[in-house]
């Protein structure tokens, strides 16, 4: 294992996949000579050239549309959306065209594009910091991946670039300053495989992306109170690793779902219901963003989005029997 910055893990995945498959091309704002908004494409333009690493204008609908068309025509485009919020402009080609193509053509056509977008709040305010990944889980035909570590970013991006259909790969602004262990040899992480980040027997905490980091902090605080929380990193929002979730939930009997996006119709809403259907008698609860836009003020941002102490309180409430039995 080597310790790499998050951006370096992404860059290594792209480097390897572009060398392996000449159909992989990159489209996005500032990704060529500039090296990407987070430095994640540094060196790729110099290595693979302008035909495969293409700067695009600030026109996300066109970027995703071109990527979807190029994918249908036989390429494997990776489209960069600087902030996940801007994917709203590209939803029509992604949802109506790319995700439907296999179904509409009875499996004769496919659009294997990857959209990589950066979610999460870090002072950017209402329209540049949203976590809207639960919207995407609602779309048949889309794979949705959201790693929380550099190692998984590497393994999942490689999987995305080989997937048969459209994938949305979601990273997070607060993950980029972190380093993490990345395997020295090539290793893929399968879509639909969650990861156990911490063992515990009292409550299962399920999170994805940066909220895993926060959930692990909360698990430390709970441990100080004698409560052993098991932390599961979803890694893949669709498909969902129901096997791992159910196995853990059966053992603990309590599952808390934490996310940075809106709690209403959020990831946790779907997972809690789905897991109740699979595990009889399970006590569930969820914690997401308050029903307000993401604030630009750091104080209000922290008030709006789950923090470690809020996760601790939610876990204590759940274990105290206040949650639905």
């Amino acid at each position: 294992m080597s310790r790499l910055f998050f951006r370096e893990a992404l860059c290594r995945a792209m480097n390897e996949e572009m060398a392996r498959d000449p159909r992989v091309i990159l489209l996005g704002q500032d990704i060529a000579a500039h090296g990407g908004s987070y430095g994640e494409t540094r060196g790729l333009f110099e290595r693979f050239g302008a035909a495969r690493v293409r700067n695009t204008p600030v026109a996300e609908a066109a970027t995703v549309g071109i990527a979807a068309g190029a994918a249908a025509a036989g390429l494997r485009p990776l489209a960069f959306i600087t902030y996940l919020d801007f994917l709203m402009l590209g939803l029509d080609p992604l949802v109506n065209y790319a995700a439907k193509l296999k179904f509409k053509s009875a499996g004769q056509l496919s659009a294997p594009l990857v959209v990589k977008a950066t979610a999460g709040a870090k002072g950017q305010g209402p329209t540049h910091a949203q976590s809207i990944e639960s919207w995407l889980m609602n779309v048949p035909g889309l794979t949705v991946l959201a790693p929380s570590t550099a190692g998984d970013a590497y393994g999942l991006l490689k999987t995305a670039l080989r997937a048969p259909g459209p994938v949305v790969f979601i990273d997070h602004k607060r993950l980029f300053p972190l380093g993490g262990a990345v395997p020295d040899r090539e290793e893929l992480v399968a879509a639909g495989s969650a990861a156990l980040r911490r063992d515990g027997r009292h409550v299962t905490i399920v999170a994805h992306s940066y909220m895993c980091v926060v959930a692990l902090e909360a698990a430390e605080l709970l441990a100080a109170r004698g409560i052993e929380a098991e932390v599961i990193d979803l890694r893949s929002l669709w498909p969902i690793d129901w096997g791992m979730l159910a196995d853990s939930a059966r053992r603990t009997g309590h599952a808390l779902f934490v996310e940075e996006g809106q709690e209403v119709c959020g990831v946790g809403a779907e997972l809690a219901f789905g897991l109740r259907e699979r595990v009889a008698g399970l006590c569930v609860s969820r914690l997401g963003a308050r029903r307000a836009p993401v604030a630009a003020s750091a104080v209000l941002e922290a008030y709006t989005i789950p923090q470690a102490h809020g996760i601790v309180e939610a876990a204590l409430r759940l274990l105290g029997g206040a949650a639905r039995k």
Binding site: R3, F5, F6, R7, Y38, G39, K122, F176, P177, L178, G179
Partner: protein, 102 residues
Amino acid sequence: MIRKLMIPKELGDSVEVRLLEWCKAEGDEVKVDDAVLEFETDKAVVLVSAKQSGALRRCFFGAGDWMKPGDVAAWLSDLPNEPLPGAEEVPEETLIVDFETT
């Protein structure tokens, strides 16, 4: 006087940094404006140069090592042969340095 060379405690939003290379070796003289070490954040490469003269005496990290903001990277002394304190002692004085970010 023994001085510590510290990775700044406040380094934007950096959580960890990686030491790229020492521009001096232990025992080398350091003059004003000499580059001492280079480290990397998630966004930038930072060259640290001395703003006071001395000698680089002990490096606590090697090239490729990960450090955190606030870590003491090295000890320097004003005079080349000043005795160094024991490992458990921490110099009070911080070497004055300059940062160039690329």
